[in-house]
Assembly symmetry: C2
């Protein structure tokens, strides 16, 4: 049963998890706070892969301050692990601390955990309460959960448009439709992703770096290009010496070797309808433990991903201006019926003055993930 302060403390644990947003991949972002008699004894968040998990950090934090954790309550944003990975199982550390209660936001669909963490705690006589703020916890780790459940990352696309849905003038001009504040926020999303994915068209047209720049981050995501015919110019600025993946159906060994010297990995993919099979790209990324993919591309790649059912989330920055006839956001076959429209759900609106940021996601995909983390 919930106790009155449970929401308050679980929110603190979620804040801990959010504080390591750019750090933990391929592991999930997890936060933990330990409370006794309404007092915070310790808190922590999962560190870089290989480092300690949130529960262990919080226990150390509490012990460093001389607290006895017997009879305490642990708030954890993800079911504690019960298996040996790079670190020993967190459930053992929790049980050793002899808490009275453990409150867990979401269960771990990782087949190596799969409810075993919860069961181990209960077997040790600890009261376990699950599913508190599960949706908020999932929102911090949709990629990790998607990968555990379906083998592929969570994919969002960053879009910038006018109020009437145009992303560039017919002459190609698109810099800038949205404000500096909106563009800076876009870098936050690059920073939390594992891969920034674009198309050949964007490389040819904008010659972007696609790096995280407007905020500090301990790691840069891998940049990746969908380039079915392997036509990318070797002089593109994106080849800056840091890792780039190029997905193609067309192997040119000499060009691939020259690019490899620039830290560019060519990945030959199966073909589908004359282009790189995007399903295969995401499955391949899943195998590389890629949790979150940030797409920043033109109407071609966005349309192809949408048609393939691979855009899980839209991150649309909308400027309060009207452009009239100009390039749209998605290149798609012309529809003949309104009920063929691609359906999303708005779930968040925020102002980045003078622009708005609208977020929408595929309801079924989200519900599937959420269902997988709710402990029955």
């Amino acid at each position: 049963m919930n106790q009155p302060d449970d929401f308050y403390w679980m929110n603190k644990a979620l804040e801990q998890a959010a504080s390591v947003m750019f750090v933990t991949t391929p592991n999930p972002r997890v936060g933990c706070v330990i409370v006794k008699n309404r007092q915070l004894l310790g808190q922590g968040a999962t560190q870089k892969a290989g480092g300690p998990h949130a529960e262990v950090c919080a226990i150390h934090n509490a012990q460093d301050n001389g607290h006895d954790l017997a009879g305490s309550t642990f708030y954890v944003t993800l079911e504690p692990c019960s298996h040996y990975g790079k670190t020993p199982p967190c459930v053992d550390a929790i049980i050793a601390a002899r808490p009275a209660r453990v409150v867990i936001a979401m269960a771990d669909p990782n087949p190596l955990v799969g409810g075993r963490g919860i069961a181990r705690l209960q077997e040790a006589g600890i009261e376990v309460h699950c599913n508190l703020l599960a949706e908020q916890a999932l929102a911090l780790n949709p990629g990790f959960i998607s990968r555990m459940l379906t083998g592929r990352p969570w994919v969002w696309t960053k879009l910038a448009s006018s109020l009437d849905g145009r992303m560039a003038l017919y002459n190609g001009q698109s810099q800038w439709i949205t404000s500096a504040a909106a563009r800076a926020d876009g870098h936050y999303w690059r920073a939390r992703s594992c891969v920034v994915l674009t198309g050949l068209g964007t490389v040819l047209h904008d010659d972007p770096l696609m790096t995280v720049r407007s905020l500090a981050t301990p790691r840069q995501p891998v940049r990746a290009i969908i380039d079915s015919r392997f036509a990318v110019p070797e002089t593109a600025r994106i080849f800056n010496g840091e890792p780039v993946w190029v997905f193609t159906t067309h192997l040119d060994e000499a060009k691939a070797a020259r690019l490899l010297a620039k830290n560019v990995q060519l990945i030959v993919m199966p073909e589908k309808n004359g282009h790189v099979d995007l399903d295969a790209v995401l499955a391949w990324m899943g195998k590389q433990q890629i949790n979150e993919v940030h797409v920043e591309a033109g109407p071609g790649l966005n349309g192809a991903l949408l048609q393939a059912g691979l855009l899980d989330e839209l991150l649309l920055y909308m400027a309060p201006k009207i452009l009239g006839d100009a390039h749209g956001l998605f290149r798609l076959p012309v529809l003949n019926e309104l009920d063929q429209a691609y359906q999303f759900d708005f779930f968040e609106t925020q102002t980045f003055a003078p622009d708005l940021r609208l977020r929408a996601r595929l309801q079924n995909r989200w519900d599937t993930l959420l269902n997988s983390v709710v402990h029955k």
Copy 2:
């Protein structure tokens, strides 16, 4: 100087004004509450044109309850009138009640009032405080203020689009992109307007009634059609016996006479670029004491109004779906520079699940109106 409860009571007065949203035109919606010793003594709102104004209603309400208003505070959303119109000046009624203080949300730019109301109260030894929640008060009466200041109504256009800015498929299908909840809210906006304005294209394509249906209203707005060549079919459903205005440059006397029998008034307007001069239409409406115009039209008329600088506000219902290549919201000449974009400002976002309603307005127009109602 503000007193601690001023915001609270002025909000009550604004609620009173909002309660007569569909009633007062061509007069402004005005609310009044009378307070003494933190107790509400009386409240009222302006009635149908020719009926009592808000201040008099509130005084009667208080007196009916046996209250002595000496030493009280009046909260009024608009500067009280000081001239004889259809009713005697409200300032006289207020002065007779002997309040200690009058708090006024916005001044009246009506040349017949023009600060005289405030001055009369001060001359009577009453403390007057102005400009409290002026922007909220203006939002209840942008049309009246626009007409007083510039001679023309305030114009908003109701738009419905997909997330990617499309209002109909190429085959014309547009019913329905947005949800029943969004469409019902659209009727609120029709109801508060004085004129519902559409174009010939919409009449030909959708054959709409353009009446207020999904909510109760004491009056229907006039429906109006921009029809430069006077090509509207006489059998259109919009000609239902209630008043319709048809603006044209092309007089066909026989057709006009037949339509007159259906309560349709033909108004011949000057021509501009081969079409009805839209500036002239709005000036003509201003002379008819039209405060607010609700546009519900296709990309042609919306584009023409936008180009003419006559769209003051956008009311955009956006469905979380993607349509790809399809009809856009505004037909405009293709732009060559991003800084030629038509600039608005978002000022409100609301959910009409599953859709969003975004409101944006022309900043300069709004600032001009607001500046005119701030008492210096």
